[in-house]
């Protein structure tokens, strides 16, 4: 490509992304630094009085520190459900790839169903109620695992297929049992896809609104996304606090993305697309 084209397209891209992608973010940021009356004008302008910190404090204090409880809930939910998804999913993907059994067809069908079929909401509540896990964080963790498992298995399986069986053989010859072989040899080799799965599924679970709404209702165990909705009704005119809340709950995912950015594309290349 000619030098002028590299610059031309690059600058065009910067202009385009600035208008379409950066302006909404700048808007969120400036709104959350404004005072209530100024934010209510909904304008895209630099705040005349910069009160971001005061707004952050106010958002955390609101409704008896509800946001802190929500953050604890959301982190617990995300960490445990994604960890279980990775371990359970890798176990299935691994045996599915390595062992030809009569179950393979059935399991492949189940994975496809898990990707396509929308969860049946009220019957799920009914089942959870019978098990005594409705309205519990534990129940919601299992829900996220059940709904996220298919995608995890699909991405991991394509990657496991690229791991040579000689590695398994070597470990078996060295006397490793199935658990040791899996947890000590295979799982560490899956690191590239695990990073991709962790990032993608964490974003999904942390940002999930629908499942907590249905399966974990109530203010006491709100997740961060539900606080957002409560805020909207409580501070009908407090746009500054609403946007501060959006900003505060986006930061964890933004930080995670910036850390793992490079690994995500390579993990995707290895798993989802090549498969």
């Amino acid at each position: 490509m000619r030098k002028s084209a590299r610059w031309g397209i690059g600058i065009g891209g910067i202009l385009f992304t600035t208008v379409f992608f950066l302006v909404p973010f700048a808007f969120i940021f400036t709104m959350s630094a404004k005072t209530g009356p100024e934010a209510a004008r909904l304008q895209f302008s630099w705040p005349t009085e910069f009160v971001l910190w005061e707004n952050i404090v106010a958002v955390f204090q609101a409704r008896n520190y509800m946001l802190i409880v929500a953050f604890i809930n959301s982190f617990t939910l995300t960490v445990f459900s994604v960890a279980l998804m990775v371990v359970f999913g890798a176990m299935v993907a691994y045996v599915l790839d390595r062992r030809k059994s009569r179950l393979n067809g059935l399991i492949n069908a189940a994975i496809l169903a898990g990707l396509i079929v929308p969860p049946a909401v009220v019957p799920t509540i009914w089942v959870m109620q019978s098990l005594g896990i409705f309205k519990t964080l534990f129940g919601l963790i299992l829900i996220e695992v059940a709904f996220g498992l298919s995608f995890t298995i699909l991405v991991m399986r394509a990657f496991i297929a690229t791991i040579p069986r000689e590695i398994d053989e070597a470990a078996i010859v060295d006397g490793a049992g199935p658990l040791r072989l899996f947890f000590r040899v295979i799982l560490p080799l899956l690191k590239p896809t695990i990073v991709t799965i962790v990032v993608v599924q964490s974003i999904f679970v942390f940002n999930d609104f629908q499942n907590p709404l249905y399966f974990l209702p109530g203010d006491a165990n709100a997740t961060v996304q539900l606080t957002l909705f409560n805020f909207q009704s409580q501070f009908v005119t407090s746009y500054n606090l609403l946007f501060t809340n959006i900003l505060v709950i986006t930061i964890p995912m933004l930080v995670m993305y910036l850390i793992f950015q490079r690994q995500i594309v390579s993990g995707m290349t290895a798993g989802a697309v090549k498969g």
Binding site: P123, T124, L149, V273
Partner: protein, 305 residues
């Protein structure tokens, strides 16, 4: 001679392999994931086919036959959601394919600030649908919103009520969905384009192919696996979409942007559990009827490439 040499180990090996396979790759590895999946996903799905035919209070249910479905298809507000779901799914997924590929081609080229541009395009994916929905509700405010302020500054006329005009609401939400999701489509395409061997481009350049010819003859066909991934993921997501619609319009104004998923929630809230579950069954049928044949077809095209 050749066949004999390979035939002998073949008869002996499978048994030995089978034994070590059974020991090293135990079937019980399926159990932890399978248990969670069957109990919380398969069982409720199967139950939905019964409860959809009942009047249901969670504690007891009376069988009412096709009443729920008749009601669903008779009420304009409910049947409208079916059409909206289809429009929403097709519009969002088609736009994500086109824009995602376009952005990925640009961001795969040797342009300046590539890493920065890739990150910025992905940022919206990191914000929750609720956060995005509430932000755009403010940006698209008919009177004070930034979008219409700019609109007025350019055209001199008042901008439309993006989310309050019944003709526009659904498409506006779809546009917000594209804004939020195109980063993921772009990422998948970037991965797909990165997987194309460089030799093809070199050979094309030697033969004097221009940028457009390289795109037509190399990128477009060889990134097909990425295309089918993007189509399927965004279509499934679009047909099931709830979060964004709920946080922007709540299905309104009227029922103009109601989709099946928001109808399911409204009926659930109102305590009509049987009707809500019937909505689930309809959504199940719609998504499966569209996505399953499509995925088979895309797969067959993929292998024939």
């Amino acid at each position: 001679m050749h066949s004999e040499a390979t035939a002998r180990p073949k008869t002996a090996a499978p048994r030995a392999v089978a034994r070590h396979v059974e020991r090293s790759y135990p079937l019980w590895f399926y159990i932890p994931g399978g248990l969670v999946y069957v109990v919380l996903f398969i069982v409720p799905t199967l139950l939905s086919f019964y409860f959809a035919f009942t009047r249901w209070t969670l504690f007891d249910s009376t069988f009412v036959g096709f009443d729920n479905f008749i009601q669903f298809f008779a009420e304009p507000g409910l049947i409208g959601s079916l059409k909206n779901t289809l429009v929403y799914g097709v519009v969002t997924s088609a736009s994500k394919v086109v824009l995602g590929m376009l952005l990925a081609v640009l961001l795969s080229g040797p342009i300046i600030a590539r890493g920065y541009l890739r990150s910025v395009t992905f940022f919206p994916v990191l914000v929750s649908a609720v956060g995005v929905g509430l932000t755009f509700q403010v940006l698209l405010d008919p009177f004070n919103g930034v979008v219409n302020q700019v609109w007025t500054a350019i055209t001199g006329a008042d901008g439309p009520g993006w989310l309050t005009n019944p003709d526009l609401a659904l498409l506006s939400v779809a546009a917000i969905d594209v804004w939020k999701g195109v980063g993921l489509a772009t990422l998948i395409y970037i991965a797909g384009i990165a997987a194309i061997p460089n030799e093809y481009f070199e050979a094309a350049r030697v033969d004097g192919a221009g940028a457009w010819q390289q795109f037509r003859s190399i990128i477009l066909p060889l990134s097909f696996p990425a295309t089918s991934t993007v189509i399927l993921l965004s279509l499934i997501g679009g047909l099931r979409s709830f979060d964004l619609i709920w946080s922007t319009t709540q299905g309104g104004p009227g029922f103009s942007s109601d989709v099946i998923a928001s109808v399911i929630y409204k009926q659930y809230q109102a305590g009509f559990y049987g009707l809500s579950t019937a909505g689930n069954v309809i959504l199940f049928l719609v998504v499966t009827a569209i996505v399953y044949p499509l995925s088979r077809w895309l797969n067959s095209k993929e292998t024939s490439l």
